[in-house]
Amino acid sequence: MKKTKPLLIVDGSVLAAPAAKRMGRRGKRTRLQNRMFRRYVQLSIASLCLVLAMVLILVGQTGLTVFKTLSPADFFFSLDWTPEEDRFGAGSLILGTLMLTGLTLLFAVPLSVGVAVFLSEICPPWLKRIYRTMLDILVGIPSVVYGYIGLTVLLPIIRQASGENLGDGLLAASLVLTLMVLPTICRVSDDALTAVPSSYREAAYALGSTRLQMIAKVLVPCASRGILSAVILGMARAIGETMAIVMVIGNTAQMPRDLVTPTAVLTSNIVMQISNVEFDSTWSHALYMMAFLLLILSLALIILLRAVRAKGGNEA
């Protein structure tokens, strides 16, 4: 969007005719306030940039130190995370994060897109209002509470169903995560579906299609970009979630054999171990490297998201 700036503004202050000059004290104060405010917003953006730089530099630098004592191949591809015996292979944790995210999306995407279609096309307006409020409430519930519910309600069910005596693992974690990313994916796809012009719908109906045909052949393809951004947002949330997962995944750094074996992901591993290690040790550096990896991953997802959005903008 191009902003049209009024002609009279030079250097942020208005030279609106000689009248301004004659205003005297009040005018001076106004201009002073104007300059002070400008300083203030510049100060805020500077401090924001400082925080950005600190995150990137402090976490990145500390993390990358790990490669002084460890080869990147060992760190990324070895599946053996036994820090007590100086074996720092993050491969299993990275795979754990990827598998958990994949499994979560497998559950969450069909569910939430289905509900989004229901919300935007089928359900009556009064129910829609209630539904949206409920989804907003769901977003607001703290992640420890999700973890707690998973621990006290979901795990006993899984234990009974699978016969394992713990029940912690990818299945429990992905079910809890599904509930957590569902409102995000739902709301964003719902917005995308609602934004499809109603003339498209009318055209489809005029050709004699049923509602299902309209949804499958017109609505969802038209909103596909919006749905894709919703999925990316959900993915970003799933990758970074920590406390809810810590409580239900079992926190054992091993490759999971099945969905109910205790395992660990990047976030859970960091939070369980960082408090117990020396800051200047390979162990701690390896944990920082994992955090840096998470940082890069989510930045990459956001760049992808912007690309998806920008392309959509050009077409429209």
């Binding site: 503004i9 400008r38 917003v41 401090s47 569910l111 519910i149 947002l233 920590t242």
Partner: protein, 297 residues
């Protein structure tokens, strides 16, 4: 049967199949919607039901016990609010300022665009990354250990990009004509922003602050790493350098490591308190907004 008749019967059959699938799908969507809604309601009911009705005032104010039954959550609840308020006091002014800068002052160009990408990226970076940043700064560089101060500042770092984004979006959504009108009346940029742009963007900004505050209240990964798992053991401890376990952390701690006898009840009640406070934060801040929209109507 003639060819025409056969065609008619085939298309009739096709029509029937199409209608059947349409009806099945409608039913399916309704089923899905109703099931999910009841799941959400059941979830809220479970959280509230187990804890809410057994909460009394002394539970909210008493000190936690190490081993015996009947401990409260006084200091951790206090720490939650204390850290929340400190972090908001730091991050709200800076976040709003930075958002206004990005929307109103920033020159167009590669650098601005880069900052924007970074802000959007950091707004979705896992909170644990900020936790590690907090450790690196406060525990290692400054050597003050696990403190309320460290947790508040780190939490403010976490909130800053989110607040900046929300503000920028809300300010950008204000129509350009408003600004032109303000300038035409001879206002300076500051007057225009303060009297015209900010009031118009206020509801978006406040909603954003509410959501951020709710998120910060329930945040636990950052707090565990920067404020620790213990309190100073006193009520109303305003000391910035004492350890500051919050309610969200307490819920995790009591469930996984504590030895106290009635851990389950305390956890149930703490979960209910957490959810109720987050809902209240989202509600209370918005009441002025409702009143304002009413008045404007």
């Amino acid at each position: 049967m003639s060819l025409a008749e056969r065609n008619v019967s085939r298309s009739l059959r096709h029509n029937r199949a199409v209608r059947f699938w349409n009806q099945t799908a409608t039913f399916g969507f309704w089923l899905l919607g109703v099931l999910l809604l009841s799941l959400i309601l059941w979830l809220l009911f479970t959280i509230m039901n187990k804890g809410l009705f057994s909460i009394d005032f002394s539970f909210l104010t008493k000190l936690p016990e190490d081993m015996d039954e009947g401990g409260g959550i006084g200091p951790v609840l206090f720490n939650s609010f204390y850290i929340l308020i400190l972090s908001l006091a730091l991050s709200v002014p800076l976040g709003i300022g930075a958002g206004i800068y990005l929307a109103e002052y920033a020159p167009k160009g590669k650098l601005t665009e880069f900052i924007r990408v970074c802000v959007e990226g950091l707004a979705s970076v896992p909170s644990i990354v900020f936790g590690l940043l907090g450790i690196a700064i406060f525990v290692e560089a400054f050597g003050i250990g696990l403190t309320i101060l460290g947790a508040s500042v780190t939490l403010a770092f976490l909130n800053l990009p989110v607040l900046t984004r929300v503000t920028e979006e809300a300010v950008r959504a204000v129509p350009e004509e408003y600004r032109s009108a303000a300038y035409a009346l001879g206002s300076t940029k500051f007057q225009c922003i303060r009297r015209v742009v900010l009031p118009a963007a206020m509801s978006g900004i406040i909603t954003g602050i509410c959501l951020t505050a709710g998120r910060a209240f329930g945040e636990s990964a950052v707090i565990i790493l920067t404020a620790g798992l213990s309190t100073s053991g006193r009520m109303w401890d305003f000391n910035l350098f004492s350890p500051g376990e919050t309610l969200a952390v307490h819920l995790w701690y009591i469930q996984s490591e504590a030895l106290v006898a009635d851990a389950r009840q305390i956890a149930d009640k703490s979960a209910a308190v957490l959810v109720v406070v987050v809902l209240l934060i989202n509600l209370v801040f918005r009441i002025p907004l409702w009143l304002r929209t009413r008045r404007m109507k």
